[in-house]
């Protein structure tokens, strides 16, 4: 009887675990089945490098949106990575235990704020500041980058902090025992040793920025055009789907799924890279 129970519970957990994976498989199959016919019809090259997005006239080019995604993500990374890594160094190496016990949950909380709230805040505060101080419509690459940078901080900070804290104690003691200063130890020994974990955290953070939708819908301005400066509005791959899905039908809908395929592959590449890097570290 007891053995039967053991077996049964094992099975139940297996089925539940399987359902998670099958969700992934089903979604993947679904977006590919829906999106591939359009890519086949328009041609992969024309789809990815096409400059005109005008579904009603049969133009399906998403290049401006790829540029939009890349530019906003790059901007977010440019702001978020240095701030995030510095913050994780502070947490792992300088913060007294009590301060750390306040900082860590506070940073986790940052991850818990709903993205629509970030977007709303950005629209009400960041966008007007950019419009008034720097010019342009305010709805811009810069606004999106600033807010996304804040949003990816928790990912970068917590993963980097953990990988610095997980270093063998002897790296630090060995370096200090050689008469290095604390800063030299961090910069020349601990950061290089924790590099793979930090890079993995950065990539996951970037993945989050690429996939984020709500915030960018609200603050980017959503114009389908190549931006000429960081003060210009852009549209990202995610916003394209988010804005148009409500009224799209037929080929237009297929084109949105095809956009989803591009996005999906982009994020898969980022996540797999992060996994490979972390796995290489544990060897």
């Amino acid at each position: 009887m007891k053995k039967f129970k053991e077996k049964l519970s094992g099975r139940i957990f297996f089925i539940l675990a399987l359902s998670t994976i099958s969700a992934l498989v089903l979604i993947t199959i679904f977006i590919f089945v829906e999106g591939m016919p359009l890519i086949a019809e328009v041609g992969l090259f024309n789809f990815i490098f096409g400059m005109v997005w005008s579904p009603s006239q049969g133009h399906f080019g998403i290049f401006p949106m790829i540029v939009g995604t890349v530019s906003v993500t790059f901007g977010a990374a440019l702001i978020g990575i240095p701030v995030g890594i510095c913050c994780s160094i502070f947490m792992a190496e300088f913060a007294p235990a009590r301060m750390r016990s306040i900082f860590r949950p506070a940073i986790q909380l940052l991850a818990g704020i709903p993205s629509v709230v970030y977007g709303f805040w950005g629209l009400i505060y960041i966008v007007p500041i950019i419009r008034d101080r720097l010019g342009g419509p305010g709805l811009s690459v810069l606004a999106g980058s600033v807010i996304l940078a804040i949003m990816i901080l928790p990912t970068i900070i917590s993963i980097s902090e953990v990988s610095i804290m997980a270093l063998p104690r002897h790296y630090k003691e060995g370096a200090l025992a050689l008469g290095m200063t604390h800063w030299q130890t961090i910069w020349r020994v601990q950061l290089p040793a924790a590099k793979s974990g930090i890079v993995a955290g950065v990539i996951l953070g970037i993945g989050r920025a690429v996939g984020e939708t709500m915030v960018v819908i609200m603050v980017l301005g959503n114009a389908v055009a190549l931006p000429e400066s960081i003060l210009d509005p852009v549209r990202t791959l995610t916003t394209n789907i988010g804005i148009e899905m409500g009224y799209a039908a037929g080929k237009h809908q297929q084109a949105l799924f095809a956009t989803g395929i591009v996005l999906f592959i982009l994020i898969m590449i980022l996540n797999i890279t992060a996994q490979i890097i972390t796995r290489r570290k544990s060897k």
Binding site: H170, Y171, L176, L178, G179, M180
Partner: protein, 252 residues
């Protein structure tokens, strides 16, 4: 007996409420191998760590008394800790190579110090590796990662890394635990050679090693210094019964 390199006056050391060293007084002469022996938890590692202030890294510790290095208290305000740690090197009980190449492990500390003499890094690295009896084994592969060395080689690399800084004192905390006899012999050999230039304080991994290499021996128990004297005196005619019990293997 040589002049005293290190003088320890009434040292008490606490981890939170637990006292690890009690009223310790000790003079350590220059250019000798000084062994501190005793069972585990006697405060030996703590003692070594107080000598180059590695103990500062452990939160919640407190120290009383004075440690004089060349008659200057290393716990006084005007002592630079990094400078002190370059003068007083430390070799840990487990090999602690840094995650970089063999060459860089040794050259690394050097690059951070502004050197007085004009030796190139390569010369200094070679000298240090020779002193640690490792040069012949690694000269062909200085660029390979330090982690690819065997445990014994790694430990000699750590010794070389310390020696490259040309320290005045080298502390070794059970440096041969877990090492093969050949590596152990090589380390012992280089220590005997090295004492011409530096003062060596070692916590040997057994009493035989202490008897082989030391000029003077101190026996510690439960944070207290029980007995201290020349190697032959301590091992052939210990004054305290606890010392003789320990060295004849009755406990510890």
């Amino acid at each position: 007996m040589n002049r005293n390199k290190i003088i320890i006056k009434d040292l008490n050391f606490y981890y939170d409420d637990k006292q690890a060293i009690r009223d310790l007084r000790l003079n350590i002469p220059a250019n000798e191998v000084f062994s501190v022996i005793g069972p585990a938890n006697s405060g030996i590692t703590t003692l070594l760590r107080t000598l180059n202030r590695l103990c500062d890294l452990t939160p919640g510790t407190r120290i009383e008394g004075e440690i004089l290095l060349d008659n200057k208290n290393i716990y006084s305000e005007e002592i630079s800790i990094t400078e002190l740690r370059r003068r007083v090197g430390f070799v840990f009980d487990v090999p602690t190579p840094l995650p970089m190449s063999i060459f860089d492990n040794v050259a690394y500390g050097l690059r951070l110090v502004r050197r007085k003499n004009k030796k190139t890094p390569l010369e200094s690295v070679e000298t240090a590796l020779r002193q640690a009896a490792l040069w012949d084994e690694v000269k062909e592969r200085l660029k390979s990662p330090a982690m690819s060395l065997s445990g014994g080689q790694q430990q000699r690399l750590c010794l070389a890394r310390v020696l490259a800084l040309e320290p005045e004192v080298v502390l070794l905390d059970r440096p041969c635990s877990g090492l093969d006899p050949i590596s152990t012999a090589k380390i012992e050999e280089s220590l005997t050679e090295l004492k011409k230039q530096v003062t060596i304080i070692i916590s040997p991994h057994n009493t035989q090693q202490a008897a082989r290499i030391s000029d003077r021996v101190a026996f510690m128990l439960d944070g207290r210094l029980i007995e201290e004297g020349a190697n032959i005196e301590v091992f052939s005619s210990p004054k305290d019964k606890r010392t003789s019990d320990y060295i004849t293997g009755r406990f510890g």
